[in-house]
């Protein structure tokens, strides 16, 4: 157990302990993660930086319970989530973890509003959803309006700009009011101005609502928006965790 991985302030929300992950590419076994330790406390904005192929996306998938590690543990609020049933992980993802991807990953057949409502639809059966639809829909409208998308509710993703799509994806990630937001290269597909907007949005969410964010990027400039930067190289954490205060000072 790496004591360093746990920052001083309080109990970590999300924790990776000695995580190993390897993929099979044909006959080759590619070791992507070789013992990663990471701890994120509630209310933190952490950026994971690394070259492409350093395993940062894989780490994010493991943290988001989309995949399970070969070795090591993933803990969410101090409870292991890597060895529980697929259904439990699905529920956790739906309720407590929001995810934003580089390519937005909105469903092309649905309108923006329906996309944002998707996590609710997944959580509730048809009857329960139907009964609560007014409440849920007004919530989604409100959220979209706050993100500046109030005029785009009934547009399909292909009718939106990249920035709008990414803001829509963030709205979808936030609709269920999760404790944790995982972002995989959220600005990777946007020009610098729109990318900056997205980063400011994430930062303000973090600052104003105390949302815990883990962001993966290859760009140190993007990573600068975060409180804390974790360097990942060849499947290992390179730079030791720095408390936010130290980084700001140095």
């Amino acid at each position: 157990m790496n004591e360093q991985a746990i920052p001083a302030q309080g109990h970590p929300l999300l924790e990776a302990r000695g995580v190993h992950k390897a993929y099979r590419r044909g006959a080759h076994r590619v070791e992507v993660l070789r013992g990663v330790d990471l701890a994120v406390v509630p209310g933190e904005f952490v950026a994971v930086v690394g070259q492409s192929g350093s395993g940062k996306s894989t780490l994010l998938h493991l943290l988001g319970t989309l995949d399970v590690p070969d070795q090591g543990q993933i803990l969410f609020r101090g409870r292991r989530v890597d060895n529980v049933s697929a259904r439990t992980r699905d529920r956790l993802r739906n309720a407590s973890i929001g995810m934003v991807f580089q390519f937005y990953h909105l469903l092309p057949e649905l309108t923006l509003l329906e996309n944002v409502l998707c996590p609710w639809m997944i959580r509730y059966g048809p009857w329960a959803y139907w009964r609560r639809r007014r409440e849920l829909e007004s919530h989604a409208r409100e959220l979209l309006a706050r993100l500046g998308l109030g005029h785009r509710l009934y547009h399909r993703p292909k009718e939106l700009s990249g920035g709008e799509m990414q803001r829509g994806a963030i709205a979808r990630a936030l609709i269920t009011q999760p404790e944790l937001l995982l972002a995989d290269e959220p600005t990777g597909n946007l020009d610098s101005r729109t990318g900056g907007e997205i980063l400011r949005l994430l930062a303000s969410l973090h600052r104003e609502q105390g949302l815990t964010i883990v962001m993966v990027t290859h760009d140190p400039q993007v990573a600068a928006a975060a409180d804390r930067v974790v360097q990942l190289q060849d499947g290992r954490v390179l730079a030791a965790d720095q408390p936010a205060a130290m980084r700001a000072a140095g």
């Binding site: 995810m99 991807f101 959803y129």
Partner: protein, 575 residues
Amino acid sequence: MYKFLLCWRYLKARWIALASIVSVTLGVATMIVVNAVMSGFQHEMHVRLKGILADVIIESRSFEGLPDPEAHLALIRRHVGQEVESATVSVHVPAMLSFQVGGRWITRPVTLIGIDPATCASTCRFAEYLQHPANRSRVSFQLHEGGYYTRDPEGGEKAGVRRGMDLAGWPWRRWRARQRLSAAQGTSPLEGQAKKPQGNEQSSSRDLVHLELSAAQLRQSGTSAQAAAALYESLLKQMGYRLVEKQISPQGDLELLAAPGVGGADEQSLPQDPFAAAGQQEQKTFDPAREQYTGCILGMAIASVRRSDGSEDFLLLPGDDVKLTLPTAGTPPKAVTETFTVVDFYASKMSEYDANFVFVPIDKLQELRGMLDPETGTRYVSSIQLKLRDPSKAAQVRDRLRKVFSSTYYVVQTWRDRQGPLLAAVQMETAILNVLLFLIIAVAGFGILAIFFMIVVEKTRDIGILKALGAHSTGVLGVFLGYGLSLGMVGAGAGLALGLLFVHYLNQIADGLGRLTGHRVFDPSIYYFYEIPTLVDVWTVAWIVLGALAIAVLASVWPATRAARLRVVEALRYE
């Protein structure tokens, strides 16, 4: 919830899904149409195959037949009385039919059947195949004055003309009698102006003769309207017609309306006819113009020749005389010949029957064959036919009767036993066709499978997104199974509507195709019916639709499982 929304949106948005909907639609429509037409044909065929057969038939193995049918019937009633609705007896015997056409004798082998006109109609489908409306309601072996069907009454507008049938009956018999007489005397019956009563061209209805001569026509032939009227009046009278109306317009046009002379009118006109009087002098015992021999009903195909346009020409008409030569019941059988008058035709449209059967009254046949015991007055018959209250119990009744009537002397059969080989052939045909059709549907099923795989590949990323948002594998499975089911429902629904519409307008479509290509799709002269018969069985349709739904769901099971098993990480990496 998302399952339904996504199913619905995928259905609306994916054009490729249209291909699988169309394949289901076409498959279902084809199955419905083919099954409807096949059961239509099969139904017609069953009706025709059954023909004059009753539900259960008891026959004697002996050529002489079984004696005392009343005693047999009493025995039958005692054993299976509650099942029997009605019974009739008949005599079957092979015979030779001879008739004269254009002065030559034509002889044909036929099956002579003696029937009881009173009980036959209620036991077998016999009366409904006769070609005079009065005979259909009550079978009679008396020649009618006229009114035989000049077109097939079942054929509607499409039925071909029966040339000469408008003359059939007594008018034809009278005309033939005069013709024969004048031929014997070497003179023309009407002084060189002998004409057949022109029915087709000049009569406005079957019974009436309607003559119209314009003033110009009369001028050309150099007579006045008055003189022509008098001439035609006398001609019509000699032909057995009586004048109903005579009109000469101010312009000089002549119009005459004559009806066949019946009752008093006929009696009045005939004594004035010198040839009829001459006939009476020569043949005091039998006047062919006024009397008939014992009636017989000929199978229509014996007497007529059918053309490809559906019209028919006749070698014989009701009113003609024929000779029948038949074997007596004694041992060895001797041939006896007797003259009969054709009084009607039997047209069941089952060519085997129509070209073979000649029906005569049973008592006449029994007399001729000596199937009558002179001492006791006991009559012999060849078979007893039973109509059952519930035709589906035929096999059961047959088995019970077999215990009563020893197989040494009797053959007890249901009509299905009689037509066994043919029915089995039809059954086999149906089975083979259904296998082939199922293969077509299977092809459609594989089409759906392929299209579904494409959709799953296309939707890989979306599946990953759904899972990332917390959707479970079973949910994703549900999306794609539901998608398959809804594709099946839309396709089968459209196919159902299309198929039923097609069946409903099948004959119009066939006619339209015929006009378009100049080639007749359905030739009535082949099958003896005028429209493609169809029969929609609700259960067959229900099975087809259910089967299509099942195939759509089954075809989506494999792609859907694949979609459900997709690893989220790989699905998301897909770009």
